[in-house]
């Protein structure tokens, strides 16, 4: 892996929605120092970070009614997101809107992968569920291998 690589864990402090942050924290120690690993609750922050990188991996919670902890993978541009509407607000710019915006500004890295982890409880200010927490090492191991730095 030679291209400048950015890994971003997205999440919020609400239950299993923390998973992007938690996996990113483990990856910080697993990945080489030249890979930049960041965490954010605000997808719009990607607009500040993306221009400096050629490869980007985004890790976020998702809910596709699969088994808790199941890892999904999408390569951008992904057809699954094509029908999502463009609802642009600085209070609520979604991950997909931020990527579309970056694409139109021509600051999107050539290689963007979105990793979705199936989550359950997202109760306000709750901790990560124990069941999902147990899967963090495995998820981080898988992602480290996929990112190419295991």
């Amino acid at each position: 892996m030679t291209a400048r690589t950015l890994v971003v864990g997205l999440g919020s402090p609400h239950g299993d929605d923390r998973i992007g942050w938690e996996v990113a924290r483990v990856l910080t120690d697993r990945l080489p120092a030249e890979v930049c690993v960041r965490e954010t609750a605000i997808p719009a922050n990607l607009l500040d970070w993306l221009p400096e990188y050629a490869v980007c991996h985004l890790i976020d919670g998702c809910s596709l009614r699969g088994r808790l902890g199941t890892l999904h993978r999408w390569k951008w541009p992904a057809g699954d997101f094509a029908t999502l509407s463009e609802r642009f607000s600085t209070h609520g710019m979604s991950l997909i809107e931020a990527l579309r915006f970056a694409e139109r500004l021509q600051i999107l890295p050539k290689d963007v992968t979105i990793w979705g982890v199936e989550i359950g409880n997202t109760r306000q200010a709750a901790d990560l569920s124990a069941e999902l927490s147990e899967q963090i090492p495995t998820l981080a191991e898988t992602l480290a291998e996929e990112i190419g730095c295991a």
């Binding site: 607009l47 642009f88 607000s89 579309r100």
Partner: protein, 433 residues
């Protein structure tokens, strides 16, 4: 609805911070009612602060807004320091101005490029505009990033910073970390001037209004943290006398209070346009030169041209930030420790959107006994409605879609922060006998 009655309703304004709508009722060619409906739920921050230790106040008030948290922190620490008679000293004072520069850069460039500029080109959003104007928007995002970097360095993080303390800062960055920003800010100073020329080239409707403009005025500097409250109608008062001359009132259609001049019950204007008109001669030299180049008809009282005022303030913020960054040496003392006592104090600072007033009563133990916060969007609400009324009356024969578009554009000219303004709740209790 009678045959001559027309209603225009915008259920949800887009490209504003927070949730609000707009309602206009016409009868024939007469505007009967105009309302800026703010239905975002009350935030209740003044009540939340009661009983909390005074040292918690800047962290709690920073949560009022994700775009302008520094303004809330600054007004709160100045008010509490005024109460406790604390003087943090000149070094801290300059670093607070530096932090405020970061917020002005971040907030203003966001509004200019993503929220307001699309109106002048007919795009529904910044996203829609991006493909056709990538150079300008990329420049805007890079400027915004600089603002965020200042907030991260001196505030601890860009959103809801945690490093501002009563008496100073909890920790100050190393000189080397600050020096790393200088090259980017030198680029930013030039880019901000280019951005100002770009926005000044937009086509503006003729919307000049007879505003009473209100802003802080400081004898030696463009106002941010300190100064007297002045108005274009001749008002002059110390910031802690705000509540004697301005009063908040409830209106049925809004969860935010309206603030009016107490003596005349009239609306007034706060924000970059007022600041610029009342303080033009105190702009940094680069900003003053470009202000004179781009605006030749002073006072500038067209709300749409507030985008130019914002761009000029970004130039000023870069110039002042650069001067402070270049001279930065990490102070030996970051904070004067506050000593609690029974006291009261008030202060006003200039948030990106205008004058932000805080007043606190503190008890013997250092707990907050009462808090009053008057944000700029509350102060501008009545003026926005007055402007809308005048605008609609002037275009009353236009199709509804055009009236709606023009009204939304006008509201966005103010960069209203609706989330900040909603901290009011009326509670009615009826007890059965």
């Amino acid at each position: 609805m009678t045959s001559s009655e027309r209603k225009i309703r915008v259920e949800a304004l887009t490209r504003v911070e927070g949730e609000g709508g707009l309602y206009v009722r016409l009868r024939g060619n007469v505007v009967e009612e105009v309302r800026l409906d703010i239905y975002e739920p009350p935030r209740l921050f003044e009540s939340l602060l009661r009983g909390r230790n005074l040292n918690e106040v800047p962290d709690i008030t920073a949560r009022i807004c994700g775009i302008c948290p520094i303004a809330y922190q600054m007004s709160s620490v100045h008010a509490i320091e005024a109460a406790l008679e604390i003087d943090p000293g000149e070094e801290i004072r300059r670093l607070r101005r530096l932090l405020y520069c970061g917020e002005w850069i971040e907030s203003h460039t966001l509004h200019i490029h993503l929220l307001h500029a699309p109106d002048f080109f007919g795009y529904p959003s910044g996203l829609a505009m991006a493909a056709d104007h990538p150079t300008e928007l990329k420049r805007g995002l890079r400027l915004k990033k600089h603002g965020n970097e200042l907030l991260e360095l001196f505030g601890g993080r860009a959103i809801h910073p945690i490093n501002v303390a009563v008496g100073g800062f909890y920790r100050l960055p190393e000189t080397t970390a600050v020096a790393r920003l200088i090259a980017e800010f030198e680029w930013g100073l030039q880019a901000a001037q280019d951005a100002a020329r770009w926005v000044a080239s937009f086509e503006f409707d003729d919307l000049e209004q007879p505003y009473e403009m209100v802003s802080l005025v400081h004898p030696d500097e463009y106002p941010m943290n300190e100064g007297e409250i002045h108005s274009s109608a001749g008002l002059r008062l110390a910031a802690n006398k705000f509540e004697q001359h301005f009063s908040e009132c409830q209106v049925p259609h809004s969860t935010a209070l309206h603030c009016l001049r107490s003596d005349t019950q009239s609306s007034y204007l706060v924000g970059p346009l007022s600041r610029l008109n009342l303080n033009r001669e105190r702009l940094a030299p680069e900003a003053r030169a470009i202000a004179d180049e781009l605006i030749t008809d002073w006072p500038c009282a067209n709300p749409q041209r507030s985008i130019v005022a914002r761009a000029l303030e970004v130039v000023h913020a870069y110039s002042e930030a650069l001067a402070i960054l270049r001279e930065y040496r990490r102070p030996r003392v970051a904070r004067v420790e506050p000593v609690p006592m029974l006291a009261a104090g008030a202060a006003a600072t200039e948030a990106p959107r205008g004058l932000l007033y805080h007043h606190y009563e503190i008890d013997q133990s250092g707990a907050i006994a009462s808090a009053t916060i008057v944000p700029p969007t509350s102060q501008n609400q009545a003026q926005i409605e007055a402007d809308l009324r005048a605008l609609v009356q002037s275009i009353v024969d236009q199709p509804e879609s055009e009236i709606e578009r023009r009204c939304e554009h006008l509201v966005r000219s103010y960069d209203p922060c609706i989330s900040c303004s909603t901290h009011f709740l009326r509670l009615s209790v009826e007890r059965a006998q």
